[in-house]
Symmetry: C2
Subunit: 366 residues, 2 copies
């Protein structure tokens, strides 16, 4: 469990960075481009129109994404030209679109796709462009293969985190997932979760009380996955066992964190007899280990409420900028920072991402 030494020279001066986007959804425009990267037996199933067989849910995106932006997101040079350069984004972490990989019943297809997409991302986006960093996508439903994939790519300076969809058959604190966290800390990689596959494949209904009917209802409820996962991780002692594990939560907002932290703190006083390994207040683990992202933030009716909650969640060190390109249904991600106090802008746009991802973020990609 020693952190890897990245021997490549640091080539960026952090002071010069203007913005680090932690959530850029690069797209697979044509699955035939992925086929060469997946195991041979899977190639014919991947190289079909529409891509590989994958369980999907019926909640489709509603917002009208800009078709030019969507097209650009399939090409690294065009994305740089259309988004990064005009917006002053110096570095972007690629998160792709496979948020429902985590609930595919065929774990071998899931693991093969993860491997293929990771190599394709490295080859076509990360190696040729120093402005991009990759995520090691894994399918947690087979922890053994997930660990193999993290070990395979965990020392690559082009990869800066492990990424899994938050949609899940079981809460992520369960002990069966701990080898994944062990691999994350062994390679000094944060674990990022992304909502989106809830209700598909092996996942239960997208809420604790059954299936939402509309995208509007479904999308609104998604942060409940994060709540349940965090409670599970705290309860099962993940942060006691892996004290250096960092967690990044995409697209879930921040206003629920005080509820989870402080309901849980109150319960802990009465109920911790059952989980004696949970030695600290739950809020202490959450504030120390969990990072949130800006797209989309909740929209309170006044900036007082926003500033108050930013303080409750210690946003000056826990909140990271997320651009969510090319899906800007909720507006420009930079405009979303407008209500945020000036002194938080630099931490959100640059400093906290550097603290979370470390020097790997600044290293060359090859």
């Amino acid at each position: 469990m020693t952190a890897p030494t990245i021997t490549a020279p640091t080539h960026r001066d952090p002071v010069s960075l203007r913005a680090i986007d932690t959530d850029l959804h690069h797209r697979i425009t044509d699955w035939r481009a992925i086929a060469p990267f997946v195991p041979e037996g899977l190639r014919n199933r991947v190289a079909r129109s529409g891509g590989p067989p994958m369980a999907r849910h019926a909640y489709r995106p509603l917002g009208v994404s800009d078709p030019d932006a969507v097209a650009a997101a399939g090409d690294p040079a065009r994305t740089k030209e259309a988004y990064l350069d005009p917006h002053g984004v110096d570095l972007a972490i690629l998160t792709g679109t496979l948020t429902n990989l985590s609930v595919q019943p065929n774990v071998d297809i899931a693991a093969g796709l993860a491997r293929g997409v990771n190599d394709w991302t490295l080859e076509t986006w990360v190696r040729p462009f120093d402005c991009y960093k990759g995520s090691i996508l894994v399918a947690p439903q087979d922890p053994v293969q997930a660990v193999e994939e993290i070990d395979r790519l965990g020392s690559d300076p082009g990869m800066v985190q492990v990424l899994i969809g938050s949609a899940s058959e079981a809460p992520l604190g369960r002990r069966v997932y701990h080898p994944i966290y062990d691999a994350c800390v062994r390679h000094n990689l944060p674990l990022a979760l992304h909502i989106g596959g809830e209700g598909a494949g092996m996942s239960p209904a997208a809420t604790a009380v059954g299936h939402p009917t509309t995208t509007f209802e479904w999308y609104g409820a998604l942060p409940q996955s994060y709540m349940a996962h965090l409670m599970s991780m705290v309860t099962e002692g993940v942060f006691e066992r892996f004290p250096t594990l960092k967690v990044v939560l995409y697209e879930g907002g921040i206003f629920w964190l005080p509820h989870v932290m402080w309901r849980f703190d109150k319960n802990w006083k009465a109920q911790r007899a059952e989980t004696p390994w949970v030695k600290e207040r739950p809020s202490a683990y959450i504030l120390r280990h969990v990072h949130s992202t800006t797209y989309p933030l909740e929209a309170p009716p006044n900036s007082d409420a926003l500033e108050q909650v930013l303080e409750m969640v210690e946003a000056h060190r826990t909140l990271l900028f997320a651009g969510n390109f090319p899906d800007w249904d909720f507006g420009d991600p930079f405009a979303m920072l407008d209500g945020i106090p000036d002194e938080l802008r630099r931490p959100i746009l640059v400093d906290s991402a550097l603290a979370v991802y470390g020097e790997r973020l600044l290293a060359p990609n090859r």
Copy 2:
């Protein structure tokens, strides 16, 4: 859909009231006492040691409730003596312990039990004691029988609300449940939800990502049911269709409301095309229709955070006192008010309950 006229003379001066407890868990000590009140064919199944056949989950209470208090909660005179009188509680709304009735697969047993427990509550607690008011417990999984029960008891001055467990096979905004809400507003009765049955019987796993392992984890996650139900009710247009419906949420805290309201507001701007009947911002419906209760409130590390969230949720008119007798795992419910600003005490303890429940709360019980 006209409100009922309660002809019994108002016999209490609201000014004299010191505290109204909206959540007193009176207990069934011996199911044989219920047997005479259930339909004849169900009596032999109810009058067994341990009570009727009911699906249960494995999350058992952890806290050590005071055995004297638990015993007292089975008897109206002893409850008055042990709890109401020494604490200055003038009125208490009885909520029982059958929070998992809502997920029993046999809907006829569920409806029969609801009817029996309601009549037993009226006969043994409410009629003889003016300090108690009852809840019309119904099993929402059979809306037709639920409506019949509301119509049967909806004009009784001893009954002040309709009560259902929040554990549910489906989100409560679904149109199949709308006749229940129609019956609530027809009788001018608030709809109260109580957590506790999540994970039992017909309910999905207690979180959107599967089964929690411990009581600590399970109990912490329960407000997610409320979040999903509220989103469903807003999305399906419940509050447009039933503009006088009031909802009371027990034991779920309040710190999650700003998240639900304002994530949902933000999404509404982008996603409402799918639900054109949702004419207002979701937060407007939630603030107008939803009431929360004090036991247990989240435990923030400082009173600033509590005061800020109390203001965000407009607690001066939306928050009701709940005593949760006899289960005080999280401490004395009056001590829980200590961090609350003085000017909110009277609204929480008396005025808001009067506003929610109306003059029925002050009427004699027979």
